[in-house]
Amino acid sequence: MAINTEKNKYTVVFAVIMVIIVGSVLAFFATALKPKISENERFEKQQNILYAMGVNNNEEGGSVDFVPTTEVEAEFAKYIKKQLVIVGSEAKEKENAYLIDVQKELAKVKNGLSAELPLLVGEKDGKQYYIIPMYGKGLWDAIWGFMSLDENMEVQGVYFDHKGETPGLGANIKQRFFMDDFDGETVLDGNSYVGVAVAKGNNDPLNTDKEDNQVDALAGATITGNGVTAMIKESLKLYKPYLETIRTK
Protein backbone atom coordinates (compact mmCIF):
# COMPACT_ATOMS: atom_id res chain seq x y z
CA MET A 1 0.00 0.00 0.00
CA ALA A 2 1.56 3.25 -1.06
CA ILE A 3 0.88 6.24 1.11
CA ASN A 4 0.29 9.55 -0.56
CA THR A 5 2.81 11.71 1.22
CA GLU A 6 1.74 14.83 -0.63
CA LYS A 7 -1.61 15.25 1.11
CA ASN A 8 -1.99 18.06 3.63
CA LYS A 9 -3.67 15.77 6.08
CA TYR A 10 -0.77 13.35 5.96
CA THR A 11 1.71 16.18 6.47
CA VAL A 12 -0.09 17.44 9.55
CA VAL A 13 -0.46 13.96 11.06
CA PHE A 14 3.19 13.22 10.35
CA ALA A 15 4.30 16.45 12.01
CA VAL A 16 2.17 15.80 15.09
CA ILE A 17 3.40 12.24 15.51
CA MET A 18 7.01 13.29 14.96
CA VAL A 19 6.79 16.00 17.61
CA ILE A 20 5.21 13.61 20.11
CA ILE A 21 7.87 10.96 19.53
CA VAL A 22 10.78 13.38 19.62
CA GLY A 23 9.35 15.16 22.64
CA SER A 24 8.96 11.98 24.64
CA VAL A 25 12.39 10.69 23.67
CA LEU A 26 14.00 13.94 24.81
CA ALA A 27 11.92 14.08 27.97
CA PHE A 28 12.88 10.50 28.76
CA PHE A 29 16.58 11.24 28.40
CA ALA A 30 16.32 14.46 30.38
CA THR A 31 14.53 12.82 33.32
CA ALA A 32 16.57 9.66 33.32
CA LEU A 33 19.89 11.47 33.30
CA LYS A 34 18.99 14.38 35.55
CA PRO A 35 20.19 12.99 38.91
CA LYS A 36 23.50 11.98 37.40
CA ILE A 37 23.92 15.36 35.70
CA SER A 38 23.14 17.41 38.79
CA GLU A 39 25.55 15.33 40.83
CA ASN A 40 28.26 16.04 38.26
CA GLU A 41 27.46 19.73 38.47
CA ARG A 42 27.65 19.70 42.25
CA PHE A 43 31.04 17.99 42.19
CA GLU A 44 32.25 20.46 39.64
CA LYS A 45 31.23 23.39 41.83
CA GLN A 46 33.06 21.87 44.78
CA GLN A 47 36.13 21.32 42.63
CA ASN A 48 36.03 24.91 41.43
CA ILE A 49 35.67 26.32 44.94
CA LEU A 50 38.55 24.21 46.24
CA TYR A 51 40.60 25.20 43.22
CA ALA A 52 40.14 28.89 44.04
CA MET A 53 41.50 28.37 47.53
CA GLY A 54 44.49 26.50 46.21
CA VAL A 55 43.35 22.95 46.93
CA ASN A 56 44.12 21.26 43.63
CA ASN A 57 46.54 18.93 41.96
CA ASN A 58 48.23 21.59 39.86
CA GLU A 59 51.80 20.94 38.90
CA GLU A 60 54.34 23.58 38.08
CA GLY A 61 53.81 24.65 34.47
CA GLY A 62 51.00 22.13 33.96
CA SER A 63 47.37 22.71 33.13
CA VAL A 64 44.39 23.09 35.47
CA ASP A 65 44.13 19.97 37.61
CA PHE A 66 41.28 19.61 40.09
CA VAL A 67 40.89 17.38 43.08
CA PRO A 68 39.54 14.11 41.59
CA THR A 69 35.75 13.78 41.56
CA THR A 70 35.93 10.67 43.71
CA GLU A 71 37.55 12.58 46.56
CA VAL A 72 36.04 15.99 46.13
CA GLU A 73 33.19 15.57 48.59
CA ALA A 74 35.50 14.58 51.44
CA GLU A 75 38.02 17.29 50.61
CA PHE A 76 35.29 19.88 50.44
CA ALA A 77 34.04 18.93 53.91
CA LYS A 78 37.60 19.02 55.20
CA TYR A 79 38.61 22.45 53.91
CA ILE A 80 35.39 24.45 53.87
CA LYS A 81 34.73 25.42 57.47
CA LYS A 82 31.79 27.76 57.18
CA GLN A 83 29.15 28.40 54.58
CA LEU A 84 27.62 31.84 54.95
CA VAL A 85 24.97 33.86 53.27
CA ILE A 86 25.29 37.61 53.35
CA VAL A 87 22.10 39.60 53.67
CA GLY A 88 22.96 43.28 53.62
CA SER A 89 26.01 43.45 55.88
CA GLU A 90 24.99 40.57 58.08
CA ALA A 91 26.34 37.10 57.65
CA LYS A 92 24.63 33.98 58.85
CA GLU A 93 25.49 30.36 58.41
CA LYS A 94 23.50 28.30 56.00
CA GLU A 95 23.86 24.70 55.03
CA ASN A 96 24.92 24.10 51.44
CA ALA A 97 25.14 27.81 50.74
CA TYR A 98 27.51 26.99 47.90
CA LEU A 99 24.61 25.54 45.92
CA ILE A 100 22.79 28.88 45.82
CA ASP A 101 22.34 30.09 42.27
CA VAL A 102 24.37 33.30 42.24
CA GLN A 103 22.81 34.44 38.99
CA LYS A 104 19.35 34.49 40.58
CA GLU A 105 20.57 36.29 43.69
CA LEU A 106 22.28 38.95 41.60
CA ALA A 107 19.08 39.46 39.64
CA LYS A 108 17.26 40.00 42.94
CA VAL A 109 19.82 42.62 43.97
CA LYS A 110 19.34 44.36 40.64
CA ASN A 111 15.59 44.47 41.20
CA GLY A 112 16.01 45.89 44.68
CA LEU A 113 14.90 42.72 46.46
CA SER A 114 16.72 41.24 49.40
CA ALA A 115 19.13 38.59 48.29
CA GLU A 116 21.18 35.88 49.94
CA LEU A 117 24.73 36.13 48.69
CA PRO A 118 26.76 33.01 49.42
CA LEU A 119 30.28 33.25 50.84
CA LEU A 120 32.45 30.34 51.86
CA VAL A 121 35.12 30.36 54.50
CA GLY A 122 37.86 27.84 54.00
CA GLU A 123 40.83 26.99 56.14
CA LYS A 124 44.10 25.55 54.96
CA ASP A 125 47.27 25.29 57.05
CA GLY A 126 45.76 27.61 59.67
CA LYS A 127 45.06 30.33 57.11
CA GLN A 128 41.57 31.62 56.38
CA TYR A 129 40.24 31.94 52.86
CA TYR A 130 37.13 33.92 52.02
CA ILE A 131 35.71 32.61 48.79
CA ILE A 132 33.34 34.77 46.77
CA PRO A 133 31.29 33.27 43.95
CA MET A 134 30.91 35.57 40.95
CA TYR A 135 28.73 35.76 37.91
CA GLY A 136 28.88 38.04 34.89
CA LYS A 137 28.72 38.43 31.14
CA GLY A 138 31.41 37.62 28.61
CA LEU A 139 31.25 38.20 24.88
CA TRP A 140 28.80 35.47 23.89
CA ASP A 141 27.30 34.20 27.09
CA ALA A 142 27.66 33.89 30.84
CA ILE A 143 30.97 33.81 32.66
CA TRP A 144 31.36 32.93 36.33
CA GLY A 145 33.99 32.10 38.84
CA PHE A 146 35.26 32.02 42.39
CA MET A 147 37.82 34.29 44.01
CA SER A 148 39.43 33.63 47.36
CA LEU A 149 40.71 36.51 49.48
CA ASP A 150 42.59 36.65 52.75
CA GLU A 151 42.14 39.22 55.55
CA ASN A 152 44.45 41.63 53.72
CA MET A 153 42.15 41.55 50.69
CA GLU A 154 44.87 39.87 48.70
CA VAL A 155 43.74 37.39 46.06
CA GLN A 156 44.70 33.85 47.06
CA GLY A 157 43.41 32.18 43.96
CA VAL A 158 40.71 32.37 41.33
CA TYR A 159 38.81 30.05 39.13
CA PHE A 160 36.95 31.28 36.08
CA ASP A 161 34.67 29.46 33.73
CA HIS A 162 32.41 30.37 30.86
CA LYS A 163 29.51 29.05 28.88
CA GLY A 164 30.43 29.88 25.32
CA GLU A 165 33.45 32.14 24.91
CA THR A 166 35.46 31.73 21.70
CA PRO A 167 37.79 28.73 21.86
CA GLY A 168 41.43 29.86 21.79
CA LEU A 169 40.50 33.45 22.66
CA GLY A 170 38.01 34.31 25.42
CA ALA A 171 37.80 30.68 26.46
CA ASN A 172 41.35 31.04 27.79
CA ILE A 173 40.08 32.74 30.94
CA LYS A 174 39.96 29.25 32.43
CA GLN A 175 43.59 28.56 31.59
CA ARG A 176 46.28 28.73 34.20
CA PHE A 177 48.37 31.35 32.42
CA PHE A 178 45.48 33.73 32.90
CA MET A 179 44.16 32.69 36.32
CA ASP A 180 47.57 32.34 37.98
CA ASP A 181 48.24 36.03 37.31
CA PHE A 182 45.61 36.97 39.86
CA ASP A 183 47.42 35.31 42.75
CA GLY A 184 48.75 37.87 45.18
CA GLU A 185 47.08 40.86 43.52
CA THR A 186 45.33 43.17 45.92
CA VAL A 187 41.73 44.18 45.30
CA LEU A 188 42.16 47.37 47.30
CA ASP A 189 43.28 50.73 46.07
CA GLY A 190 43.67 52.69 49.27
CA ASN A 191 40.36 52.03 50.93
CA SER A 192 38.22 51.40 47.89
CA TYR A 193 37.46 47.97 46.51
CA VAL A 194 38.51 48.39 42.89
CA GLY A 195 39.06 44.70 42.22
CA VAL A 196 41.54 43.39 39.68
CA ALA A 197 41.20 44.69 36.16
CA VAL A 198 42.08 42.75 33.04
CA ALA A 199 44.10 45.43 31.32
CA LYS A 200 45.48 45.58 27.79
CA GLY A 201 47.96 48.37 28.43
CA ASN A 202 49.20 46.70 31.56
CA ASN A 203 52.80 46.58 30.32
CA ASP A 204 53.61 43.97 32.92
CA PRO A 205 53.28 40.60 31.16
CA LEU A 206 55.21 38.73 33.82
CA ASN A 207 52.90 40.24 36.42
CA THR A 208 55.51 41.30 38.93
CA ASP A 209 53.60 44.35 40.16
CA LYS A 210 51.01 43.03 42.61
CA GLU A 211 49.79 46.43 43.80
CA ASP A 212 48.57 47.77 40.44
CA ASN A 213 45.11 46.09 40.57
CA GLN A 214 45.77 44.82 37.05
CA VAL A 215 46.60 41.61 35.26
CA ASP A 216 47.69 41.27 31.66
CA ALA A 217 44.80 40.84 29.21
CA LEU A 218 44.33 38.03 26.69
CA ALA A 219 45.01 38.95 23.07
CA GLY A 220 41.86 38.86 20.97
CA ALA A 221 39.54 38.63 23.96
CA THR A 222 38.90 42.23 24.90
CA ILE A 223 35.22 41.88 25.66
CA THR A 224 35.62 38.70 27.67
CA GLY A 225 38.39 40.42 29.62
CA ASN A 226 36.23 43.46 30.25
CA GLY A 227 33.51 41.09 31.42
CA VAL A 228 35.87 39.57 33.97
CA THR A 229 36.87 43.03 35.18
CA ALA A 230 33.26 44.10 35.56
CA MET A 231 32.26 40.83 37.24
CA ILE A 232 34.95 41.18 39.92
CA LYS A 233 34.14 44.82 40.53
CA GLU A 234 30.40 44.23 40.83
CA SER A 235 30.79 41.30 43.20
CA LEU A 236 33.17 43.18 45.48
CA LYS A 237 30.68 46.02 45.66
CA LEU A 238 28.05 43.63 47.00
CA TYR A 239 30.37 41.86 49.42
CA LYS A 240 32.08 45.02 50.61
CA PRO A 241 29.99 45.44 53.80
CA TYR A 242 30.97 41.98 54.95
CA LEU A 243 34.57 42.17 53.76
CA GLU A 244 35.00 45.39 55.78
CA THR A 245 34.21 43.43 58.96
CA ILE A 246 36.98 40.90 58.38
CA ARG A 247 39.57 43.17 56.81
CA THR A 248 42.71 43.70 58.88
CA LYS A 249 44.67 45.95 56.56
Partner: protein, 215 residues
Protein backbone atom coordinates in the same frame (compact mmCIF):
# COMPACT_ATOMS: atom_id res chain seq x y z
CA UNK B 1 36.23 -10.32 -0.74
CA UNK B 2 36.81 -6.71 0.04
CA UNK B 3 34.97 -5.28 3.02
CA UNK B 4 33.34 -2.64 0.88
CA UNK B 5 32.39 -2.80 -2.76
CA UNK B 6 34.12 -0.37 -5.10
CA UNK B 7 31.05 1.82 -5.20
CA UNK B 8 30.74 1.86 -1.43
CA UNK B 9 34.34 2.73 -0.79
CA UNK B 10 33.99 5.56 -3.29
CA UNK B 11 31.26 6.95 -1.04
CA UNK B 12 33.75 7.21 1.78
CA UNK B 13 36.89 8.18 -0.12
CA UNK B 14 35.48 10.75 -2.52
CA UNK B 15 34.57 13.37 0.09
CA UNK B 16 38.03 13.06 1.62
CA UNK B 17 39.68 14.69 -1.37
CA UNK B 18 38.10 15.14 -4.78
CA UNK B 19 34.66 15.99 -3.49
CA UNK B 20 35.59 17.48 -0.13
CA UNK B 21 32.68 19.31 1.49
CA UNK B 22 34.81 22.27 2.55
CA UNK B 23 37.35 22.76 -0.20
CA UNK B 24 35.29 21.67 -3.21
CA UNK B 25 31.66 22.19 -2.25
CA UNK B 26 32.57 25.10 0.05
CA UNK B 27 30.07 24.05 2.71
CA UNK B 28 30.52 24.20 6.47
CA UNK B 29 32.86 27.17 6.22
CA UNK B 30 31.19 28.95 9.15
CA UNK B 31 32.15 26.36 11.74
CA UNK B 32 35.53 25.89 10.10
CA UNK B 33 36.26 29.55 10.80
CA UNK B 34 34.83 29.63 14.28
CA UNK B 35 36.47 26.76 16.10
CA UNK B 36 39.81 26.05 14.44
CA UNK B 37 41.92 28.35 16.61
CA UNK B 38 42.87 25.27 18.62
CA UNK B 39 43.67 21.78 17.45
CA UNK B 40 41.79 20.14 20.31
CA UNK B 41 38.56 21.97 19.50
CA UNK B 42 38.94 20.97 15.85
CA UNK B 43 39.27 17.30 16.75
CA UNK B 44 36.28 17.36 19.12
CA UNK B 45 34.16 19.11 16.51
CA UNK B 46 35.24 16.64 13.81
CA UNK B 47 34.29 13.65 15.97
CA UNK B 48 30.93 15.14 16.93
CA UNK B 49 30.04 15.83 13.34
CA UNK B 50 31.17 12.32 12.42
CA UNK B 51 28.69 10.84 14.87
CA UNK B 52 25.80 13.18 14.09
CA UNK B 53 26.17 12.92 10.33
CA UNK B 54 26.61 9.15 10.36
CA UNK B 55 23.62 8.53 12.62
CA UNK B 56 21.48 11.29 11.12
CA UNK B 57 21.98 10.03 7.59
CA UNK B 58 20.80 6.56 8.64
CA UNK B 59 17.71 7.90 10.42
CA UNK B 60 16.73 10.12 7.52
CA UNK B 61 17.37 7.32 5.06
CA UNK B 62 15.11 4.94 7.02
CA UNK B 63 12.38 7.55 7.05
CA UNK B 64 12.88 8.68 3.47
CA UNK B 65 9.73 7.09 2.09
CA UNK B 66 7.39 8.48 4.71
CA UNK B 67 8.68 12.03 5.06
CA UNK B 68 6.21 14.49 3.48
CA UNK B 69 8.27 16.48 1.00
CA UNK B 70 6.67 19.76 2.02
CA UNK B 71 8.15 19.69 5.49
CA UNK B 72 11.26 17.62 4.84
CA UNK B 73 13.68 20.40 5.84
CA UNK B 74 11.95 20.75 9.19
CA UNK B 75 12.04 17.01 9.69
CA UNK B 76 15.77 17.01 8.96
CA UNK B 77 16.35 19.82 11.44
CA UNK B 78 14.40 17.98 14.12
CA UNK B 79 16.44 14.83 13.57
CA UNK B 80 19.77 16.67 13.83
CA UNK B 81 18.68 18.67 16.85
CA UNK B 82 17.39 15.59 18.67
CA UNK B 83 20.56 13.62 18.04
CA UNK B 84 22.77 16.47 19.16
CA UNK B 85 20.79 17.07 22.35
CA UNK B 86 20.80 13.37 23.24
CA UNK B 87 24.55 13.16 22.73
CA UNK B 88 25.03 16.27 24.83
CA UNK B 89 22.89 14.92 27.68
CA UNK B 90 24.53 11.51 27.70
CA UNK B 91 27.97 13.10 27.76
CA UNK B 92 26.89 15.41 30.59
CA UNK B 93 25.91 12.40 32.64
CA UNK B 94 28.79 10.09 31.88
CA UNK B 95 31.67 12.18 30.53
CA UNK B 96 31.19 15.53 32.15
CA UNK B 97 34.59 16.97 31.28
CA UNK B 98 34.22 16.14 27.61
CA UNK B 99 30.72 17.57 27.50
CA UNK B 100 32.02 20.89 28.72
CA UNK B 101 34.39 21.17 25.79
CA UNK B 102 31.65 20.07 23.46
CA UNK B 103 28.84 22.31 24.65
CA UNK B 104 30.10 25.24 22.59
CA UNK B 105 29.69 23.21 19.43
CA UNK B 106 26.18 21.93 19.94
CA UNK B 107 24.63 24.92 18.22
CA UNK B 108 27.25 24.86 15.52
CA UNK B 109 26.57 21.21 14.70
CA UNK B 110 22.84 21.76 14.31
CA UNK B 111 23.34 24.59 11.87
CA UNK B 112 26.18 22.96 9.97
CA UNK B 113 25.23 23.15 6.30
CA UNK B 114 27.10 19.94 5.47
CA UNK B 115 24.70 17.93 7.61
CA UNK B 116 21.57 19.40 6.06
CA UNK B 117 23.24 19.16 2.67
CA UNK B 118 23.94 15.43 2.96
CA UNK B 119 20.44 14.68 4.30
CA UNK B 120 18.90 16.55 1.42
CA UNK B 121 21.23 15.40 -1.34
CA UNK B 122 21.96 11.84 -0.32
CA UNK B 123 20.03 10.28 2.54
CA UNK B 124 16.63 11.16 1.10
CA UNK B 125 17.38 9.12 -2.01
CA UNK B 126 19.51 6.20 -0.82
CA UNK B 127 19.37 3.24 1.51
CA UNK B 128 20.62 3.29 5.11
CA UNK B 129 23.97 1.51 4.56
CA UNK B 130 24.98 3.73 1.67
CA UNK B 131 23.80 6.78 3.58
CA UNK B 132 25.82 5.76 6.58
CA UNK B 133 28.98 5.47 4.48
CA UNK B 134 28.25 8.77 2.80
CA UNK B 135 27.78 10.44 6.17
CA UNK B 136 30.99 9.04 7.58
CA UNK B 137 32.90 9.98 4.44
CA UNK B 138 31.68 13.55 4.35
CA UNK B 139 32.19 14.08 8.05
CA UNK B 140 35.73 12.71 7.73
CA UNK B 141 36.41 15.02 4.79
CA UNK B 142 35.18 17.93 6.85
CA UNK B 143 37.18 16.77 9.86
CA UNK B 144 40.44 16.48 7.93
CA UNK B 145 40.24 20.09 6.81
CA UNK B 146 39.37 21.24 10.34
CA UNK B 147 42.36 19.43 11.76
CA UNK B 148 44.72 20.82 9.09
CA UNK B 149 43.47 24.36 9.63
CA UNK B 150 43.53 23.94 13.42
CA UNK B 151 47.09 22.62 13.25
CA UNK B 152 48.43 25.64 11.38
CA UNK B 153 46.42 28.20 13.31
CA UNK B 154 47.39 26.90 16.73
CA UNK B 155 51.03 26.36 15.75
CA UNK B 156 51.55 29.76 14.14
CA UNK B 157 49.15 31.70 16.33
CA UNK B 158 49.89 30.39 19.80
CA UNK B 159 53.04 28.32 19.25
CA UNK B 160 51.34 25.30 20.78
CA UNK B 161 49.77 22.01 19.64
CA UNK B 162 47.02 20.50 21.80
CA UNK B 163 48.08 23.11 24.35
CA UNK B 164 51.70 21.90 24.52
CA UNK B 165 54.33 24.54 23.95
CA UNK B 166 56.13 22.98 21.00
CA UNK B 167 58.05 26.09 19.97
CA UNK B 168 59.27 27.15 23.40
CA UNK B 169 57.90 29.70 25.81
CA UNK B 170 57.09 33.17 24.42
CA UNK B 171 57.17 34.86 27.83
CA UNK B 172 60.46 33.54 29.13
CA UNK B 173 61.95 33.49 25.58
CA UNK B 174 63.06 29.91 25.24
CA UNK B 175 63.24 27.67 22.16
CA UNK B 176 62.47 29.43 18.89
CA UNK B 177 61.52 32.60 20.72
CA UNK B 178 65.08 33.08 21.94
CA UNK B 179 66.16 33.88 18.37
CA UNK B 180 63.46 36.49 17.87
CA UNK B 181 60.53 34.42 16.61
CA UNK B 182 57.09 35.87 17.44
CA UNK B 183 53.63 34.32 17.46
CA UNK B 184 51.39 35.63 14.71
CA UNK B 185 48.36 36.99 16.54
CA UNK B 186 46.50 37.20 13.26
CA UNK B 187 46.34 33.41 13.05
CA UNK B 188 44.09 33.08 16.09
CA UNK B 189 41.36 35.32 14.75
CA UNK B 190 38.72 33.80 12.43
CA UNK B 191 39.76 35.49 9.14
CA UNK B 192 43.02 33.57 9.28
CA UNK B 193 41.04 30.37 8.80
CA UNK B 194 39.75 31.70 5.49
CA UNK B 195 43.30 32.21 4.29
CA UNK B 196 44.39 28.74 5.39
CA UNK B 197 41.33 27.17 3.74
CA UNK B 198 42.07 29.24 0.64
CA UNK B 199 45.61 27.92 0.51
CA UNK B 200 44.38 24.34 0.90
CA UNK B 201 41.95 24.86 -1.98
CA UNK B 202 44.73 26.34 -4.09
CA UNK B 203 47.15 23.50 -3.38
CA UNK B 204 44.47 20.89 -4.02
CA UNK B 205 43.37 22.36 -7.33
CA UNK B 206 46.85 22.88 -8.65
CA UNK B 207 47.65 19.24 -7.93
CA UNK B 208 44.47 18.01 -9.58
CA UNK B 209 43.53 20.29 -12.44
CA UNK B 210 40.31 18.45 -13.24
CA UNK B 211 38.83 20.05 -10.12
CA UNK B 212 39.03 23.54 -11.60
CA UNK B 213 35.65 24.65 -12.84
CA UNK B 214 35.32 26.24 -16.25
CA UNK B 215 34.69 29.95 -15.92
Amino acid sequence: MALLSKKDSKLILDPLADNNPITIQVLGICSALAITAELKASVVMALSVLFVLGAGNVVISLMRNIIPSKIRIIVQLVVVATLVIIVDQVLKAFAYELSKTLSVFVGLIITNCIIMGRFEAFALGNGPWKSFLDGIGNAAGYGIILVIVGFFRELLGSGTLFGFKVLGDPVTKTGLYSIGYENNGFMIIPPAALIVVGIIIWVQRSRNRTLIEEA
